[in-house]
């Protein structure tokens, strides 16, 4: 998975998404084409602020392999201030999660490609 992960490092580390100048919309993850304007759109990369609010979440008991040591973990659907949405892990006590809660981006480990493989980093969220 090395080149596949490497290709998206900037977008994962830094929450770089897409902005269509034509219709003033923000997207995350980044897109090649604006879904509203298609080839009429002017899509460019944009650094998102990293602040947002929780729309929905789940406390996952039976989750992905990379996160097994932290189960149950929380994954949330978050609406960033710019309007783009992201699904990401939330580092928070389960009792504290509330709909609409303000959260911000944090740089964390997502796993590794085995003991001798590369380490995956990316953006998780924490309560503000």
């Amino acid at each position: 998975m090395l080149p596949k992960f490497w290709r998206k490092i900037r977008y994962r580390y830094n929450l770089i998404g897409s902005y269509c100048e034509n219709c003033d919309s923000y997207f995350y993850p980044p897109r090649n084409l604006c879904p509203k304007c298609r080839r009429k759109g002017k899509v460019k990369e944009v650094q998102l602020s990293g602040y947002g609010r929780v729309l929905s979440w789940s406390i996952v008991h039976d989750g992905i392999e990379n996160f097994w040591i932290s189960k149950p973990y929380i994954v949330a659907l978050i609406e960033l201030d710019e309007g783009a949405r992201i699904v990401a892990p939330l580092d928070c006590n389960p009792e504290e999660v509330k709909e609409g809660m303000r959260v911000k981006a944090a740089f964390r480990k997502f796993g590794e490609d085995g003991e001798d493989g590369i380490i995956y980093y990316g953006t998780k969220f924490v309560p503000v």
Binding site: I9, R10, N14, D91, F107, R108, K109, I119
Partner: protein, 344 residues
């Protein structure tokens, strides 16, 4: 006027108390607390490592500095727990800050003084006109053998300093005292460090800190009373107090920078987080002494003078606020988080 333009710190939110560790190993917590001068230490979460805490402290420093990341010309990360033995932490930090591709970079190792060594390198590069701004980070997620005395103190934390002109704390001078002294080490491939017991005291910690500090004061023609604050490397709560006394600094001068009782020894972050805590309250004109110590062995001494610029600098949240904001874990969770359990 080259010095610290901005600073940021990161301390993980979990803590474990001395009482909890002593409970498991059948030791007397009160004796240990008194002997080490420490109450608790910080514990990183399962998904934190030296890269992640370095990034968090650097992002804070960069945000407070309000400068274009592309102007950063160098990134040096000092640690003894770099996630990779080969592949620099510095490039991960630089990528996560959006610095671009035009920067000098290498990872540093000199036990607990790798962060101050990074500062010296950035200082030199800025002075030489090679770069406009340099990032120096001291960060560690230190590991300790279960049941070893180091388990009470080995903790996690990071401090980042952006060095440049137009600073909030000018570097008046820096001086290093270094020798080949094997007081504390870790061989390649070994999970836990080894140390020389009491040998780590006088021939190592004290000798180097004293010589480096004296050397600096000599060069600059200064005496301890010229300083508002002093901060030394903090492997425990006792050593810095003793070395301060030997050198002629008072308890009041070192109080603000003494963070080890609450977060433990953050190794490469140790003296630097203490220094950040002083910057949180320092006033223009204050002179600050910083002397780190790294096993193997060496000490870097600095004299800083606070400038007027600190008045308009965003210093919240402070180091002590971060120290207070914490959650306690028990030994079982601690051992799981620190991956000391062999799985399968």
């Amino acid at each position: 006027m080259v010095g610290v333009v901005s600073y940021g710190t990161y301390i993980p939110k979990y803590r474990i108390k001395v009482e909890e560790i002593a409970r498991i190993w059948g030791e007397n917590a009160e004796v240990i607390k008194k002997g080490l001068g420490i109450e608790q230490k910080s514990v990183p979460s399962w998904d934190e490592d030296t890269s992640t805490i370095a990034v968090e402290s650097a992002r804070e420093a960069l945000r407070r500095a309000n400068i274009d990341p592309k102007k950063i010309g160098a990134v040096f990360v000092g640690s003894e727990s770099h996630p990779y033995a080969v592949k620099p932490t510095g490039t991960i930090v630089a990528e996560a800050l959006g610095i671009g591709n035009n920067y000098f970079c290498a990872d540093l190792e000199f036990a607990c003084k790798a962060g101050t060594a990074a500062m010296q390198i950035c200082y030199a590069m800025v002075k030489a006109g090679m770069i406009e701004y340099g990032i120096a980070i001291g960060a560690d997620i230190s590991q300790s053998r279960p049941g070893d005395p180091l388990e009470y103190t080995a903790s996690a934390g990071s401090a980042c300093f952006i060095i440049g002109k137009d600073c909030i704390a000018e570097i008046e001078g820096t001086y290093s005292f270094t020798s080949d002294t094997p007081d504390f080490w870790r061989r390649e491939g070994q999970p836990y460090p080894s140390h020389g017991g009491r040998f780590t005291g006088q021939p190592a910690y004290f000798r180097h800190i004293i010589e480096a500090t004296k050397g600096l004061l000599n060069n600059l023609g200064l005496k301890p009373s010229d300083f508002a604050y002093a901060v030394f490397h903090q492997p425990n709560g006792k050593f810095p107090m003793r070395v301060a006394k030997i050198l002629g600094f008072t308890k009041d001068q070192i109080k603000q920078g003494l963070v080890v009782p609450y977060i433990g020894n953050t190794y490469s972050g140790s003296s630097l987080i203490g220094f950040a805590s002083i910057l949180d309250v320092a006033k223009p004109g204050d002179r600050i002494l910083l002397t780190s110590f790294g096993s193997g062995a060496g000490s870097d001494a600095f004299s800083f003078i606070i400038t007027d610029k600190i008045e308009s600098f965003e210093r919240n949240p402070t180091v002590f606020e971060k120290i207070m904001k914490c959650e306690y874990v028990d030994y079982g969770l601690y051992v799981k988080l620190r991956k000391k359990i062999r799985f399968g």
